[in-house]
Homo-oligomer: 458 residues x 2
Amino acid sequence: MQTVIDYIRSTKEAALKELLDYLKIPSISANPEYHPQCDQAANYLADKLKSIGMENVQLITGYGRPNVYADWLHAPGKPTILIYGHYDVQPPDPLEKWTTPPFEPTIRDDMIYARGSDDNKGQHWPWVRAIEAWLKTEKKLPVNIKFVAEGEEECGGKAIHDCMQEKKYIDAWKCDAAAISDGAWFAHDVPSIGVGLRGLSYFELEVNGAKMDLHSGQHGGTGPNPIKVLAQVIAKLNDVSGRVAIPGFYDDVQELTAAERKMIHDLPFDVDNYHTEIGVATTAGEEGYSHLERQWTRPTFEVHGIVGGYVAPGAKTVIPATATAKISFRLVPNQNPAKIKKQFEDFLKANMPKTVTWSLKELGEGGTALVVPTDSPYLKALQPVYEKIWGRSPMLTRTGGSIPVATLFANTWKIPVLFMDLGYHDDQIHSPNERYPLKQFYDGMELAAQALDAWSKI
Amino acid sequence: MQTVIDYIRSTKEAALKELLDYLKIPSISANPEYHPQCDQAANYLADKLKSIGMENVQLITGYGRPNVYADWLHAPGKPTILIYGHYDVQPPDPLEKWTTPPFEPTIRDDMIYARGSDDNKGQHWPWVRAIEAWLKTEKKLPVNIKFVAEGEEECGGKAIHDCMQEKKYIDAWKCDAAAISDGAWFAHDVPSIGVGLRGLSYFELEVNGAKMDLHSGQHGGTGPNPIKVLAQVIAKLNDVSGRVAIPGFYDDVQELTAAERKMIHDLPFDVDNYHTEIGVATTAGEEGYSHLERQWTRPTFEVHGIVGGYVAPGAKTVIPATATAKISFRLVPNQNPAKIKKQFEDFLKANMPKTVTWSLKELGEGGTALVVPTDSPYLKALQPVYEKIWGRSPMLTRTGGSIPVATLFANTWKIPVLFMDLGYHDDQIHSPNERYPLKQFYDGMELAAQALDAWSKI
């Protein structure tokens, strides 16, 4: 193991140079003009995987941007770990806000400034280098590895989702656990592993009143107003304690154990800082739960957008024919998106007045929440690794967001997905001047190398 | 009197030709490119008024499109009547939906098809011709007349509003009653006189949460959602019986008398037809009042527009920083816009949660409601005139809309304003193929001529 670490330390400048070259490729998946560059990034990754001794290296095309696959399966009796990353990046706009150009990576104050430096090239490259270090020094890996990278994470994830619907890939990518480094530590000095994320059900609700816009002088008092109806329905969706008021909504919600609540309670969360950070006097939410519990472990509903009637400057006295809202529910373990959808529809049927008609359209596929059991041996094996590298046990955190591909992995093979995040929360991903600490990149390689070793001993 | 009527009947073709020439002028006040044509229409009207013997004919410029003024004040001891009209028209778009061009007036099936034919050239020209008939045959008018026409009715009415703020015009235009033909009969076979309209207070309400849009995964459950807050406030503005739920809102509302309720109840209103016309299964509104009572005599609140967050196609998981709604209250007699504004602000202060900030902006000036006392002698004098011309008493109707200039006349001089509408409700004003029945034009001239006579006998 020490030779592996020595290799990593002695070649870290080469590793950095490789990463910087990777970062120079503007693999912006959302913009079709940059699809050739997406292919270029996929090839760069595939070529590297091949050069270090990974086998069956493929670019899986035909589903959108290529999925990169490679494996090394010569550790009989040992676990098979799927390593996931994505080579595509967010659009860099607004360009004028970047201190240095987004695709000319620059080191300043021990930070790599470039689009994709944190999200996600700089977080999966340590895994590539860790595999290299093992194969160069020990001539083998301590576990079986399947490496999967997608190129549409930043624009919907369709290509990998479509592969995961096919038996061919379900069989080919089958694994005992998955490791994903694609998030942020809880704080700079708090190494953390994600052990849960929420699911999501997303809907568009349209309410229709009269067949045309009505004059509010002539019809005000009798003409049905879809904005008012939509507002009334949205208002009814929360009760006064901040809970979702759909009957049955909490039936399947897995409550936290005392140990889980304590784990969250022990995290260093400063409510005042949070208020300052987002610029509010106080926050909203469900009674009886702390901030982090609300964000990570409780289901919620949000309205993401609403529009209806006259919204240009000035006054127009119209009762609009239509109003529309985008509404989602974040789901927690045991909640079933199909059941939630049915409950929501029933709620609408019960609460919509006869003055209007309405339609509910689901946007995207409902995704379930994901929780990694804290007694998973794959998770427990990581504890001494974190202690060795960073001098402390990892905090086990959750996130309120949703990572559909992780949930898909977990549900498809009934495996633990380990969110071994390496970013800092202030790395400005998706924003101008995205950055990634050199230290996290270097430490990340050692984490990856040692994690493979630790899992081999389960 | 009979000679006046004979004159009207014998010159009706000339009257029609004049109107058609007037309709050829595209006096579209909303479009600055057509302001020369607005001036042209003002001059056409002024020249006509001068040619028939009206005095002090002026184009009052400097406030926007000219106000046309003329008078004839040689009936000592007789009332002074202000006749109002507007020479400007709505834009004709969409042009391709017109069967014949909007400014090439065409007669089909005894209808005049042209922009402005009903609204309002064809409704005030009868008054011009009635004055002409009196002056040509009797060499005098039975009452004193002040004729005022504006050219910005279709784009905000600023020019006449500004004149009405000046003592000079308040004195010059002072009158005992005003007659306005600028609306529609209750039904084709129901000649009607408007005796009331509602007031209006119009607001823009903005709700602000966090200082930036938040990711709903990360912040859902704690981050304040301005759309939800705005929806909750809108929902609270109505109680379950459909009343406005602002404390004190109904304090000053003048309830209908039994006679007024009976008058409205007796009107031939078909609820099923109304549902079909606007395309709804059933209508909304305040319990305990009929449809027409709700539309004409009860205060309401409406939301005219709402917008916040992500409204483009697809799903975006954002908690927006801001949401905005345009909200108005239609007011009825005795309600004071300033008091309503204060009550609304107090309501918002009491109901907005501390999670958000908000601002309320008034759009336009609050306008009070207007009701003509049904025992006004000016109104009573019209009854036999309507009977003579149409064989039945006029229905006394109200409208739920607001006509600020009428309210201004009524409040400035404490006078009755008589809405002697001549249009049909299906004349498609503001729409393609606006039309106006020849019969209404011809009968309108006789109505105007006889009304002047009737008022002279008060």
